[in-house]
Amino acid sequence: MSTTGALPLEPAPGLGGEQAETLTRQDRAALRPPWRQPLALVGGGIILFWAVVAIFAPLLAPHPPNLEFGPILAPPSAAYPLGTDELGRDVLSRVIFGARLSLPLAALLVVAAMSIGSLLGAVAGYFGGLVDAIFMRLADLVLAFPGIILALAVAAALGANLVNAVIAVIVVDWPQYARLARSMVLGARSSEYVTSARLLGSSGWRTMWVELRPNIAGPILVLGALDMGNAVILLSGLSFLGLGAQPPTAEWGAMVSEGVANFFNYWIGLFPGLAILTVVLAFNFVGDALRDILDPRTARMLGK
């Protein structure tokens, strides 16, 4: 799990205390809305492309993904645009069907990690004390390990299949959301609108859900967008190492792994690898644009 170092872990101070800052050219570029930033546009386009591919996979793919019908290890040609693998399956069809796994699973696990992490973090920040200590030490424990190593250990302990791989990634992924949610709840907890709600008789849980949630949702959703690329990499990484999708499932990471076994038939590993590369890059482009907008420094200059 890469640390999202540039992402603001502290909430933007709403009022007062800002020193006057001047806009640099880069700042101004970051202030443009995402639909006017070329990288964000390219990223959005690629995500859209892969989403369409995933949805219409049966229509787009020339063959079923697991049908062993063609010549074995045929190089790319007019009949097989991306070649065939060692079992005579069409690589293009398998890459297309792979999108049906990687994208929804990445979205699913980001949503799950985001929900679990923000809930635990918000509870820790709001109630403090022992609850805070327990949840955040747990988060520190997870963050102390390199993400892929811990995910490997968890996936290996649970057993090698795709469901367990998703669980393993959720286990290593939630703490960053917990830390962000906690810091934002800490910032908002003492604000007067929270005090007002408490004086009116709002319970702790209601205050958190009704009053605080809308105020901390933005940065957490941006972190989620930034995290999508990460999730795709982790999940295909586990499959590549044999701890995720099992043969004959058409999964990009597993296909790259097959490509390694057939090193001199470059097309088997190259094209699923390119698929991973483009998806991850696209999510990072979009996430970066969103982060710039929510960065406290640029947000302050926007007069937010």
């Binding site: 709403g14 009022l15 109630f127 604000s191 007067e192 609108y193 005090t195 007002s196 709600a197 408490r198 004086l199 009116l200 008789g201 709002s202 319970s203 702790g204 209601r206 009704v210 009053e211 809308p214 105020n215």
Partner: protein
């Protein structure tokens, strides 16, 4: 629904609405001795009464207000609402009987949730105050009625706080407090963050609400001219202590405490021929090391030797009018307590205000 809300506590008959009795509030500081923000402060607020609490910045008036609604715990003394001790806000929801003790804050933008429509916030306050959710029609009717009461159009319920000016936000915050059907409101510097025209409107609105609905109000402000206009009684705080309290008109006309005199003299007057208001020399002492004797003596223009050693007791100037000063003496009409006051024989200089 207001019936069962009021039925919850067995209110002590004859008790004042809000009663702050000799409270101390200390703030613990890491690695330092604790700061006593409020020391032995008392005041009462009756139904329909506006009590103005004045004093300079940092004198503990906001802390006193927060203690009065149960936001901070007093380290000594007690706050009672309808004769029952006010519970300090903890993790659970505030008890129903206490929800009719409400607060209005200084910063109108900070006191409204920026991401929720103002109508929703007011409707939630009404539901929480009543202890039951209102159905859609009743709820929107109530919101409209409350917005109308604070002088806003019911149509603004669909908007967000950032679409309003500071004065309008404060009106919405007041409407939200009123939604809980309060019997007592603590207004903590409700006009300090507003511009001049909005200040007068909000002050008049609050005074009008207190007069119409017979709710008690503790109006905390450093603006004496506003307090003079709207408060029935004035309480003056200096450095964590209540130094003078009494009916506004006589306190203003013949202030008994030198600090009250200094505050009143510091109010700029129109038509004063360009003279600057009198200034009080010196600064508020370090709260961690309060001066011995009377807390005001390092700055007092009328200081005596005994002030440096004797902590002055409260002197009843007249019924309901107290001053904590060694020089204070009762007005001729009263006879109580005159003999007990050391230094009372000395003439207290009371300039005409």
């Amino acid at each position: 629904m207001s019936g069962d809300r009021r039925a919850v506590p067995p209110a002590v008959p004859g008790a004042p609405l809000l009663e702050v009795e000799a409270i101390d509030v200390s703030y613990a500081r890491h690695g330092h001795s604790p700061v006593r923000a409020v020391t032995g402060a008392s005041l009462t607020v009756g139904p329909g009464e506006v009590v103005g609490l004045v004093g300079e910045s940092g004198c503990g008036k906001s802390t006193l207000g927060r203690a009065a609604v149960g936001l901070v715990a007093p380290s000594a003394g007690q706050v009672r609402y309808r004769g029952r001790p006010v519970e300090v806000l903890a993790r659970g929801a505030r008890p129903r009987w206490l929800r009719s003790l409400q607060m209005v804050f200084q910063d109108p933008y900070a006191s409204l949730n920026p991401r929720r429509r103002v109508g929703r916030q007011i409707a939630d306050a009404a539901a929480l105050g009543a202890g039951a959710a209102l159905d859609g029609k009743a709820s929107s009717d109530r919101v409209g009625e409350l917005l109308d009461r604070v002088g806003l159009s019911p149509g603004v319920a669909q908007r967000y706080p950032h679409e309003f000016s500071g004065g309008q936000c404060q009106r919405i915050a007041i409407a939200r407090a009123l939604a809980a059907q309060p019997d007592c409101i603590v207004a903590d510097e409700p006009i300090s963050a507003l511009d001049a025209s909005a200040q007068a409107q909000i002050a008049n609105l609050l005074a009008g609400i207190a007069a119409q609905s017979g709710l008690g109000m503790l109006f905390i402000s450093h603006d004496l001219s506003v307090v003079r206009k709207i408060a029935d009684r004035t309480v003056v705080m200096y450095f964590g202590r209540v130094v003078e309290s009494g009916p506004t008109a006589p306190v203003w006309a013949r202030p008994a405490h030198p600090y009250t005199r200094a505050l009143i003299n510091a109010v700029p007057r129109a038509g004063a021929g360009g003279t600057l208001p009198a200034e009080l020399p010196g600064d508020v002492p370090d709260p961690a090391r309060p001066p011995a004797g009377c807390r005001f003596h390092p700055r007092c223009p009328e200081v005596m030797d005994s002030c440096r050693t004797t902590d002055p007791p409260g002197v009843d100037i007249a019924p309901g009018w107290q001053s904590v000063c060694l020089r204070a003496q009762p007005l001729p009409a009263t006879t109580t307590g005159a003999g007990e006051v050391p230094g009372a024989a000395e003439v207290a200089g009371r300039p005409e205000a």
